[in-house]
Symmetry: C2
Amino acid sequence: MKKPTIKDVAKVAGVSAAAVSYALNGRTDKVSNETIERIKGIIETLNYKPDFSARSLVKNQSKLIGIVIPQTESHKQLILENPFYSEMISGIEGKLREYGYHLLLSGVNQGESYLDLSIQRNLDGAIMMGIYPEQFYDGFKKINIPIVLIDSYINDNYFKRIGIDDEYGGYLATKYLIDKGHSNIGLVTGAIRKDGVVEKRFLGYKRAIREANFFYNPDYVFEESMSYEHGMAAGQLIAKKFPEITAVFATGDMVAFGAIRSLVDQGKKVPEDISVIGFDDITMSKMFIPPLTTIRQNITEKGAIAAEHLINMIQGGVEQEANEIMLPLTIVERATVKVKE
Amino acid sequence: MKKPTIKDVAKVAGVSAAAVSYALNGRTDKVSNETIERIKGIIETLNYKPDFSARSLVKNQSKLIGIVIPQTESHKQLILENPFYSEMISGIEGKLREYGYHLLLSGVNQGESYLDLSIQRNLDGAIMMGIYPEQFYDGFKKINIPIVLIDSYINDNYFKRIGIDDEYGGYLATKYLIDKGHSNIGLVTGAIRKDGVVEKRFLGYKRAIREANFFYNPDYVFEESMSYEHGMAAGQLIAKKFPEITAVFATGDMVAFGAIRSLVDQGKKVPEDISVIGFDDITMSKMFIPPLTTIRQNITEKGAIAAEHLINMIQGGVEQEANEIMLPLTIVERATVKVKE
DNA sequence: TTGTACGCGTTATCAC
DNA sequence: GTGATAACGCGTACAA
């Protein structure tokens, strides 16, 4: 059983293919209402659905949206095991679908480029999470594909940016620890890179420290990667070499989990001996034992909003809105931070 | 700057579009080697990439693979926040890309069907995780789209199945607890449905119980949904109403997390007071505190293998292999099970 | 090697 | 106002 084409419908209806097309698109100015009804009935009966490829060719729009997320170094896999990304994708996909778009989820092979993929698949737009080398962005500008950037501080009006105030978040987390009486506060974090969110969170950390007139000690900054493993390594270091540290701000929840884990393994109690605050509030954070105190952002909604704005750009709506959108941030107090005695 | 088409290349090369097409596809029998070289050079220079939509139309293959995963009840979102699915997708996507396929990630709106989507997008194949109403599968058979089923016991040779021996896994987990001296063993689980994995794990549980000549007590089976929340609810019940239960087999790691959490909240110690074993070994399980003892399957690899077999079906390789593939299972001992004193 | 028809749907043009 | 005809978008594959 092969799928019906527009011609099949036309034949059955005794009209031209063009008429069917008009009926499909509701062009009442081209076909009378009653024939539209009749054609629609036949479309139902045959269960005819227009082919996206054909449409993509003629209308030059694929109804396909790409999504770019970081990959493992080998370039082999998307890092979806990081719940932060998968929760976001969940939000993106739902919203796209609501508007009749579909999501193409693909990484990039060694030596190939996402830009080529976008061109070949005729992507109507793309959402990028994280930051990439500058030239990466340029290509999209040249061929004029609408792009929404999530969690990036790339300053270019071509792109729409969705994010949070990471500096403030970093400040909030650190200030919270300070208010609880801590003064020697470690920072466990992924790579601090220009235009990235981590840099801003780091800046917020420093601001809070300075504002409290504490000494900013670079030795207390444990920077490497946004991973559980790095959290573990840093936690171990802290337990062994920096017993004066009584609180830790981890710039991502996964990192916080790792830190807590190795701290506990080293015989430290969280939060009794050492407090830990995370960032993001991934789903897992409330399930963790002890439940993680963290800076919360609504990840799924962030994705949905990014999708919504991308569609707006594509459909060229009014969209003279700001091209940077900041989502709110809250602190959620759970069980990993305690007042210093 | 608009993208070059095959005609642009042809014009520059001073040949016909057909020649370019042949050059692209390496048809040395149709075009001389030297012109192929020359054309390829020009393709490089212009950075020409063939359009997937056009190809899809004429070759009737989209190089697009669909993936079906369960959705929230509102039909609004994919449940990607369940790491089990996202890890699997990671494995699937990587393998597909290796073979030149891309992944279309989409849920289904209320009142629409995945089958229609598959037809409209001309999907070359699809991977389905979990189980669905029977009619769901029939459509794909009719239009002859290759399908790989992950974690399903649907018995139909049209489909290729990738899974594990869930009955054995359930047996293994339960037997492990029994060997540790436990006899009152609770089962906390998602819905037990025909042809689903949970049913088999449940059967394995019963087999181990009976084999040990223990009494199978239906009251010890806490069945609802494969969620953290249900784990919590069940853990609470156990702590309050079934103090004689000294060990729990949770048929999914997320459920185990929930159970442990509420057990701990009720003042029980894991594993001192009560042991818990999970199933799947999602990434999070080794990060959990205490690290979860669980039945391990290689989730990412499972996805990769499913992708590989799907491609095999599509490309019609030799593939007279078995059409059911069972991946190995191991038990990983961490810190949530203890010998009963 | 090349011209050309084709796959499917859209839209501008033309006829009644 | 209703409708049909035909050209087009891009790449492929057959006949010439």
